[in-house]
C-alpha cells in the first residue's frame, strides 16, 4: 500500500506544478454546479478532474517514467492500482466540491444531491475506465482516436437501449440509475483487469 501511495504522491507532484488553469476551471464548474445544478457544470467538473489524471499518463509516457518505474522494485500491479485509485480519488474530490458548493448556495436538497452524486460517479468512472486501458495500450496520442470510437459505440448503444426502453413504456428512473451505477462499476472492474494485463505484458521497445 505504501508503494501505491508513493506513486499517487508522484502524480500529485506532477500535477501541482502544471495544473493551475485546470484546477481553476474545476472550481469554476463546481461553483456553477452548486449555484444552478444541471448536467453540464456537474459533469464538466468531474470530467476535468479525470482529465487531470489522464494528463499524468501523458507525462509518464513523454518522460519515460512508465519504463523507469517498471525497472524499480515496484510491481506493475501496484502501478496500475495507483492510477485507478488516484482516478477514483479525483472523482471523489469533484463530488465533494459539487456537494459543498450545492450546500452553500442552495442548501440541503436530497434529490439534487443524489442526482449529482450518481451523475458524477457514473461519468467519472466511465471516463477513466475507458481512457486508462486505451492510453496504456496505444499511448496518449493514439488513444484519442480509439477513445472517440469506443465512446461513440457505447453512447450509441446507450441511446439505442434508451430508445427501446421508451418505446416499450419503461420509465423507472431510479431503476435506471441503479443500473447505470452497476454498469459503470462493472466497467471499472473490467477496465482495471484489462489495464493490468496490458502493463504486465508491455515491453518498452521505444522508450
Amino acid at each position: 500500500m505504501n508503494t501505491i501511495i508513493t506513486l499517487m504522491l508522484k502524480d500529485w507532484y506532477v500535477l501541482k506544478s502544471k495544473s493551475g488553469l485546470t484546477l481553476f476551471l474545476i472550481v469554476f464548474f463546481a461553483v456553477f454546479a452548486g449555484l444552478q445544478g444541471g448536467f453540464l457544470y456537474t459533469a464538466m467538473c468531474t470530467m476535468m478532474m479525470v482529465m487531470l489524471t489522464i494528463t499524468t499518463f501523458a507525462y509518464d509516457q513523454s518522460d519515460g517514467w512508465e519504463a523507469y518505474v517498471s525497472a524499480l522494485p515496484v510491481s506493475r500491479k501496484a502501478v496500475v492500482q495507483s492510477k485507478y485509485l488516484f482516478g477514483l480519488l479525483t472523482v471523489l474530490v469533484s463530488v465533494v466540491l459539487v456537494l459543498v458548493f450545492s450546500l452553500v448556495f442552495r442548501g440541503f436538497q436530497v434529490d439534487v444531491l443524489l442526482n449529482a452524486l450518481q451523475l458524477q460517479i457514473s461519468i467519472g468512472i466511465f471516463f477513466l475506465s475507458l481512457n486508462y486501458p486505451l492510453i496504456l495500450k496505444f499511448g496518449f496520442e493514439k488513444s484519442r482516436v480509439w477513445y472517440i470510437l469506443v465512446t461513440f459505440l457505447i453512447v450509441g448503444a446507450g441511446s439505442a437501449l434508451s430508445s427501446i426502453a421508451s418505446q416499450t413504456g419503461f420509465q423507472n428512473n431510479s431503476l435506471v440509475s441503479v443500473f447505470m451505477v452497476i454498469l459503470v462499476v462493472a466497467l471499472l472492474v473490467v477496465s482495471y483487469f484489462i489495464s493490468l494485463g496490458i502493463l504486465k505484458r508491455k515491453e518498452f521497445i521505444e522508450i
Partner: protein, 283 residues
C-alpha cells in the same frame, strides 16, 4: 568470483534487428563495458537485463534472479540509467528523494543529500529545467543511493563536458572499489571505458564480436606503421585491421605477429574498435 549477470542462448528479435548472444557474462565485483555503434544492441541488452524487454529465447540471470521483470527483491539491488527511461520531469531532487525513499528498501537519504551537494545540484530545481549534465547527475545520485549491488548504465557520460565526465568516472571508480559492487556500462566514449573497465565486450549488429579482459586486450594488439614499399612483406593473415595512407599503412596486428621491420605502438580501445569494425578480422 560469482557472476552478477549470465545470459545463455539469448535471442531477441525487434523488427529487422536480431540480438543473439550464445554466452554473455559479467563477473561480480567488476566493471564491464559494452561498446558498439548505434543500433549494435547495447540498449536492447540493458533493457533485457532490467526486464523492460522479454527475450524470445535463452536464459537471463541477474543477481541470481532468472525473471528480473517480476522479481522486485532483485530489482531493489540494481541501480540503473537507461536511455529514454526517465524520471518525472516535473519533480525536483527533494521530491524525487522522498519518492525513492519509499520505493527502495535500503535507501540512504544522507548519502543522497551528500551526492546532491557534491554535484552542486539545486535541490528545488525541477528536473525538466536542469541541463543534460545535471540530469545525468540526478539520475546517478538516485541510482547510487540505495546500496545497489549492480549498476546498469547506458551512456552515462554521453553529451557531458570533460569536467563532469571526469567527476562521474571518479564516482563510479570509487563505487567499484567495493568487491561486492558490479557495473555494466555502455558508452561511445571509449576513453572513459578504458579508465573504468576491467572487461569490455564489443557488439556489432546484435552479435558479440569480442569479449575480453581490457588489459589483456590492449596487450593482445599492436598498431604497426609500415611504409608502402614494405607492405608486400607483411603476411596478409596477420593483419587484423588496416588503414591505408599515401606513403604508409597502419595495421592492427596481434602483438606476437608484429614483423621486425614495423614500428609497433600500443593501441587504445578506440583504435581497436575502429580498425576491427572497418572490415577487420575479429578472430
Amino acid at each position: 568470483m560469482g557472476q552478477a549477470i549470465i545470459c545463455k542462448g539469448l535471442k531477441k528479435q525487434l523488427g529487422n534487428f536480431t540480438l543473439d548472444y550464445p554466452v554473455f557474462t559479467v563477473a561480480e565485483g567488476t566493471v564491464h563495458g559494452l561498446i558498439g555503434a548505434n543500433g549494435s544492441g547495447k540498449t536492447t541488452t540493458l533493457k533485457l537485463l532490467l526486464g523492460l524487454l522479454r527475450q524470445d529465447a535463452g536464459d537471463v540471470s541477474v543477481l541470481g534472479s532468472t525473471n528480473i521483470g517480476v522479481d522486485d527483491q532483485a530489482r531493489n539491488s540494481i541501480g540503473f540509467m537507461v536511455d529514454g527511461a526517465g524520471i518525472p520531469s516535473m519533480l525536483n531532487p527533494i521530491e524525487l528523494g522522498r519518492l525513492f525513499q519509499s520505493l527502495y528498501t535500503y535507501w540512504d537519504a544522507s548519502y543522497y543529500q551528500q551526492l546532491l551537494m557534491q554535484f552542486h545540484l539545486d535541490a528545488k530545481k525541477p528536473y525538466r529545467k536542469c541541463s543534460r549534465g545535471m540530469k545525468v547527475k540526478i539520475q546517478l545520485a538516485l541510482a547510487l543511493s540505495h546500496n545497489a549491488k549492480l549498476l546498469i548504465l547506458d551512456e552515462p557520460t554521453s553529451g557531458l563536458d570533460p569536467v563532469s565526465r571526469d567527476e562521474i568516472i571518479t564516482l563510479l571508480s570509487r563505487y567499484s572499489e567495493d568487491e561486492n559492487h558490479t557495473i555494466l556500462i555502455s558508452s561511445h566514449i571509449t576513453s572513459d571505458l578504458e579508465k573504468l573497465c576491467d572487461y569490455v565486450t564489443f557488439l556489432e549488429d546484435g552479435k558479440i564480436r569480442l569479449s575480453s579482459e581490457k588489459d589483456e586486450l590492449l596487450e593482445r594488439y599492436r598498431l604497426i606503421q609500415i611504409p608502402s614499399t614494405r607492405i608486400a612483406d607483411v603476411e596478409p593473415n596477420t593483419i587484423k585491421g588496416r588503414r591505408d595512407g599515401q606513403f604508409q599503412s597502419e595495421f592492427l596486428m596481434r602483438t606476437e605477429e608484429v614483423p621486425p621491420f614495423g614500428e609497433a605502438q600500443r593501441v587504445t580501445l578506440e583504435q581497436i574498435i575502429i580498425m576491427l569494425s572497418v572490415g577487420g578480422d575479429w578472430s
